[in-house]
């Protein structure tokens, strides 16, 4: 008799737990408290990756390893009139502004950026979706530009503002989210030798699809961190003033700010 009641107890309990789990799954996905706990794993991943190889270089490949076709993803071409006018002038009037917590705010032309010492690297681009492609990128190191601007000691993050509107999804991004693409990184990645402002891809000027005239390469992180169509770099001590404050267009929509995994 004891066994029977136990059996029944375990059976009923098991069925109830199973049913609850299956029916309640999507509720778990939208539970804010649980989301905070689950997202704490991002700090663990970042901490571990910084511990395992804070200054490690992403693997560099040879030209023979390159993808025959490097897929264009995200915005294919910004539709803004401002961007279209710059494109019509072959980006001669385009300027990259460097502002915020700096001693000397900068306004750099494409020619000035191209005249700076450049780094060329053949690296793998890992999209958050799961695909990857290998391409060659050339441009000055972000560190050289930041040194020229002279950062204040309060500086903690570099924010990249872009020319493209990636569109709504406000419902997911929160009321403060913006359709404008933006990204941000910390100083460890900003001063990493492979973090460059690419003016060229595969030996040619950057195409519109890949972010002309300038895009960020922040190897060791996923594709959405590599902001295209750069217009401005802000040196800041907080990400609160941008979008919903999570540090990027996709970050405002639930993706990790630290995208090393």
């Amino acid at each position: 008799m004891i066994l029977m009641s136990r059996r029944r107890l375990i059976g009923v309990g098991g069925a109830a737990a199973g049913g609850l789990l299956l029916a309640g799954c999507d509720n778990l996905a939208s539970d804010d408290k649980l989301a905070r706990i689950v997202r704490s794993a991002e700090d663990a991943s970042r901490g571990f990756q910084r511990f395992a190889g804070r200054d490690a270089l992403a693997r560099e490949f040879s030209r023979a390893d390159m993808s025959p076709v490097f897929k264009v993803n995200g915005t294919r071409e910004p539709v803004d009139a401002d961007y279209q006018a710059l494109k019509a002038g072959n980006f001669a009037d385009w300027r990259l502004t460097v502002n915020g917590l700096v001693a000397n705010p900068l306004s750099l032309s494409l020619a000035q950026l191209r005249a700076m010492p450049a780094r060329t690297q053949i690296t793998r681009h890992d999209c958050v979706e799961g695909w990857s492609a290998i391409g060659e990128w050339t441009g000055p190191q972000l560190a050289s530009v930041l040194m020229a601007a002279g950062m204040q000691t309060r500086a903690r993050y570099i924010v990249f503002r872009c020319a493209d509107d990636y569109g709504g999804e406000v419902s997911k991004g929160g009321p403060q989210s913006t359709a404008r693409y933006y990204e941000s990184i910390d100083m460890i990645d900003a001063f990493h030798p492979q973090t460059i402002l690419a003016t060229m891809m595969n030996g040619a000027p950057l195409s519109i699809g890949h972010g002309a005239p300038l895009r960020l390469r922040v190897e060791r992180q996923l594709g959405y961190k590599h902001a295209k169509y750069l217009m401005a770099i802000d040196v800041v001590d907080s990400l609160a003033g941008y979008g919903s404050g999570h540090g990027g267009y996709w970050e405002d929509r639930g993706y990790e700010w630290y995208a090393g995994i």
Partner: protein, 288 residues
């Protein structure tokens, strides 16, 4: 009351009477269930993540422009879903490639809503949960490994002896399983060779393999530890291996649950919850 006897040594009951013995240590039971929950979420979020790019390639890179090189693709054309493995194309409408959403509308999606977490496309949420439970899996796994090494659990319960590894013994166990004949009586107090190989394989090969190939896909980790990408043969290969290992894990879980059902679900499940397993010496190995 005799049934409640928590004896590990010969029971203080009449010979031949059923008794409960302490089969699973608390550490094993707790880590087993934490592991089960973690793997449940890891598999379902993993399928959601796969849905964002439903093909697999070998080598350093792989993207949809190279779809012809994909050795596996789950897709749809028109109102048919398919799985393509190399040149072999299997129609899987309703399950893979094309299936009804939770709301009932047909949608082109690799894995159906009931197999993924969340049940709808949400790469951001799936990834957040995936990496959270990956940490749970790793920490829980390290606790279990430390316990297994220091308590003697691995040596005592899981390590196969030379005699057990003899082909004749393995063949016997395979034949017994094929006839659904499971150990009875005192013989059920320890794992037999197929159980040892299956559990050992999952604990020491499959789960570490999942973690290794998972880390190999991380651009941050494969920069820090280049061995990850060298050993797997590239990022696209690491993703393929991660998927293959996940399928082996699903296969293990199906067989594992089936065996629990066939061997006596109440006794088996109770032993993993309370630790106690019922031995009935009066029922020796039954001839069919």
């Amino acid at each position: 009351m005799a049934l409640m006897q928590p004896a590990d040594t010969p029971p203080a009951v009449a010979p031949g009477a059923p008794y409960l013995f302490h089969r699973h240590a608390l550490a094993v039971r707790v880590t087993h269930w934490i592991n089960a929950i973690a793997i449940f979420f890891l598999l379902m979020t993993g399928l959601n993540i796969f849905n964002a790019y439903p093909m697999l390639q070998w080598g350093q890179y792989g993207a949809s422009p190279d779809a012809a090189q994909a050795w596996l693709q789950i897709g749809s054309s028109g109102d048919a879903g398919f799985v393509r493995i190399g040149d072999l194309r299997i129609t899987t409408t309703g399950i893979l490639g094309l299936s009804d959403s939770k709301a009932g509308a047909p949608q082109a999606i690799a894995y159906p809503h009931w197999a993924t977490f969340p049940s709808y496309r949400d790469l951001a949420t799936a990834r957040n949960f995936h990496f959270f439970f990956a940490w749970v899996l790793v920490v829980n796994g390290l606790v279990y490994l430390a316990y297994g090494l220091f308590s003697g659990h691995f040596r005592r319960d899981l390590a196969p002896s030379a005699a057990e590894l003899a082909p004749a013994n393995i063949a016997n166990d395979v034949a017994a399983h094929a006839r659904l004949r499971f150990p009875r009586g005192e013989d059920a107090r320890h794992y037999h060779i197929l159980q040892k190989l299956a559990y050992g394989g999952v604990i020491f090969l499959l789960i570490p393999g999942m973690i290794f190939t998972g880390l190999a896909m991380s651009p941050g980790m494969n920069a820090a530890w280049p061995l990850l990408i060298e050993a797997t043969g590239g990022r696209a290969s690491a993703r393929s291996l991660h998927w293959i290992f996940a399928n082996l894990l699903i296969l293990f879980i199906i067989v594992h649950l089936l065996m629990v059902l066939l061997a006596g679900p109440w006794n088996e499940i109770r032993s993993m919850i309370t630790g106690r397993f019922r031995i009935d010496p009066a029922k020796p190995e039954v001839a069919p």
